[in-house]
Amino acid sequence: MRNIFKTSYVQDIRLFEHAGHYFWYGLLLIAVFAAPQIIPQFFVGEMSLVFVYAIAGIGLMLLTGYTGLASLGHAAFLGVGAYAHNYFVTKLGIPFPFALVMAGFVSAAVGIAFALPALRMTGIYLAIATLAFAVILDQVFSHWGSVTGGFRGVPVARPNLFGWPMATETHFYYLCLVVLILVTLGARNILRSATGRAMMAIRDSEISAQSMGIHIARTKVTAFGLSTFITGIAGGLLAHKLQFVSPEAFSIILSIQLLLMIVVGGLGSLHGCFYGAVIVAFLPQFLALMKDVLPPSIGQIPGLQGGVFGLILVLFILLEPYGIYGRWRKIRLFFEVFPLYRRATFKRQRGYLKTERMR
C-alpha cells in the first residue's frame, strides 16, 4: 500500500498526485510520440482515429459521464464540426487551427441553441430529444447543398498548417495527438475546479446542488456547450481523417458507438474515454480479421459488427457498469489494500429512505 505524505493543499489539486504518476504518464507520452517511428503506417492511421474518437469521447463524457445527461445525438455534433471546419477551410480559406476552433464554436452554438429548450427534460426523454435533433441535423446536412454538398457529400483536403501541408499519416497522427492532449488537459482543469464539481453535483442530486447555490440550468447548458465544442473539434479532425464528409457518416450508429465508447470505457472517468476509443476504433478491424478465421456461417453474418457492439454494451452494463476503468480501479485497490479488500466498496448501494426525494 502506498502512503502519500501530504504537506500542502496544492498536492491534492495538482494534475498528478505523486511521482509514480509523473513517471507512468511520462512514459506513455514518450511511447505515443515515438510510436509512428516504430509501428506500420496503417496502424499510425488507425491510432489517429483512436485519438479523434477519444476527443469526441471526452466531449460526450463531460455531458453523460459527469453531468448525467444522456445524448443519443452526438454524431450530429461531430457532423456540424466536420462540415463547419471544412467550409471554413475550403470556402473561406481560414487557417487550419482557427478553422478548427471556430468549428468547435459553431458546434457549441448549435448545441446550446438545442440545450436551452431541451434541458427541461431529463433522463430518457432528453435522450429521445437529442435523437430527434440528430435526425433534424441529418436532414440539414442532406439538403443544405451549398455548404454540405448534399447527399453526395464534399471531399476534404489534407490539413495545411500555415502553408505546411500535412501530407502523411504520421503528420496527421501528431496533429490529433496534440489536440487530444490539449483537450484532455482542458477537461481535467474544468473537472478539478468549481464548474466540474457543479456538474458532478447535478449528476448526483439536483436538489442539493441547487441548495448549495448551483444554477442548475446554467450549469447544464455550460456542460452541453463544452461537450458540443469538444465534439465539434473532433468532427473537424474526423473530416480530415475520412477525407470526405457525407450525411451517412454521422448517422445514429456513430452516436451509439460514441455512447458505447464511454460506457465500456467507464462512465465518469476521463481514462474511460481512451479505453473506449481503442475498442471502438479497433473492434471493426479485429472483426474484419476474424472473418477470415471464423467459419463462414458465423463470419459472414450481415450486421455482425453492430451485433458485437450491442453485445459488448449489454454485457458491460450487466457485469461491469463502471466499465474498463472501473474494473481497473477495483484490481488496483485489491492489491493496494491486500488482504483487506471489501467487495462492498464498489457495490451499488441501495439508498436509504428516499420517500421525500425530490427531483
Binding site: 493543499y9 496544492v10 491534492d12 464539481r197 458532478m200 453535483a201 448526483d204 442530486s205 442539493s208 448551483i214
Partner: protein
C-alpha cells in the same frame, strides 16, 4: 414587494402568513414566525404537519402561494433557489442528499460553490487565480472538517460511510457555505444516543462559536429541550403553539395533536 426591514424586532428570518397550496391541500396554512439572530429555533410536530414544506419554502424549492419570507430585512419570496445559499441560508435534508459517488472532501467543496468567483475560461486554463481560489476553498473546508472531527473520512467515498457519519457530512457541507442561518431537517433522525449527544454539542458550538443561527426540525424532544431557545409546534399546516420547549410540550393543543383528544 420590498417588505419593511425588521429593524424594530431585528428578526433574522421572518415568515409572514406563509401558505402553500398543493391542489386542494393547504400543506402550510398562514404560518408566521420569526427567528432572532443567534438563537436555536426548533419546529416540532407530528408527521405531515408541514415542517419540511416550510423548509422547502424558505430554501425556495417550492413557490410560496401566499405570504412572505423576509431574511435580513429583505423579501426573499421571489429569489431564485440557487441564490439562497449565497444570501447565507444553508440547509440539510431529512433523507441525506449527498453526492454519493464523490469523496467527503469533494462534497464539502461543492458547498463552497456559492462563494466561488472563478469563471469558466480561467478554469479551463487553470490560471494561478483559480489555484489560489481552490486552495482558499480547501482551507475553509478543512476548518469545518476540524470542527466536526471528520479528518478520518476526508478521502472516503460517501457510499462507503455509515449513516451517522453521512449526517455529519451533510451538516459539514451546509457549514461550508458560510451560512448566517442554518436549516437542519431532522438532524438526529437515525442517529444513536452517542451520535445525538455529539450533535447536541455541535449545535451548541455552531451557535456560540460560529455565531450561526439555527432553524431546526426535530422529533427527539430530549435534543430539542437541550439545544432550543424557542420551539414552534405545528400540526396539519398550522401553528399550534410557540414558546420554550417545556411550554410547548405542556400546551393542550400540542398534547391533543400527538395523543388525540
Amino acid at each position: 414587494m420590498t417588505a419593511p426591514s425588521g429593524i424594530a424586532n431585528a428578526a433574522l428570518l421572518e415568515a409572514k402568513k406563509l401558505t402553500i397550496q398543493f391542489g386542494g391541500l393547504r400543506a402550510v396554512d398562514e404560518v408566521s414566525f420569526d427567528v432572532k439572530p443567534g438563537e436555536v429555533y426548533t419546529i416540532v410536530g407530528p408527521n405531515g404537519a408541514g415542517k419540511t414544506t416550510v423548509f422547502n419554502l424558505i430554501s425556495r424549492i417550492y413557490d410560496v402561494s401566499d405570504g412572505h419570507i423576509v431574511f435580513q430585512g429583505r423579501d426573499i419570496t421571489d429569489v431564485p433557489p440557487h441564490r439562497i445559499a449565497r444570501m447565507g441560508i444553508a440547509r440539510t435534508f431529512q433523507n441525506i442528499e449527498l453526492f454519493e459517488h464523490s469523496t467527503v472532501l469533494q462534497n464539502l467543496l461543492v458547498g463552497r460553490h456559492c462563494r466561488n468567483r472563478t469563471n469558466l475560461l480561467s478554469e479551463i486554463f487553470f490560471t494561478p487565480g483559480v489555484l489560489r481560489a481552490e486552495v482558499e476553498h480547501r482551507d475553509k473546508v478543512e476548518r469545518i472538517i476540524d470542527f466536526l472531527e471528520l479528518q478520518h473520512y476526508r478521502e472516503q467515498i460517501i457510499a462507503n460511510l455509515p449513516y451517522g457519519v453521512r449526517k455529519v457530512v451533510e451538516l459539514a457541507r451546509a457549514l461550508s457555505t458560510e451560512p448566517t442561518l442554518l436549516l437542519l431537517d431532522e438532524p438526529a433522525s437515525g442517529l444513536n444516543i452517542e451520535e445525538t449527544d455529539d450533535l447536541a454539542n455541535w449545535i451548541d458550538d455552531i451557535k456560540s462559536d460560529l455565531k450561526i443561527t439555527v432553524l431546526m426540525i426535530e422529533h427527539d424532544m430530549r435534543l430539542v429541550s437541550r439545544v432550543s431557545d424557542r420551539v414552534l409546534a405545528m400540526n396539519q399546516g398550522r401553528v399550534l403553539a410557540e414558546g420554550t420547549a417545556a411550554e410547548v410540550q405542556r400546551h393542550p393543543d400540542v398534547v391533543r395533536a400527538y395523543l388525540g383528544s
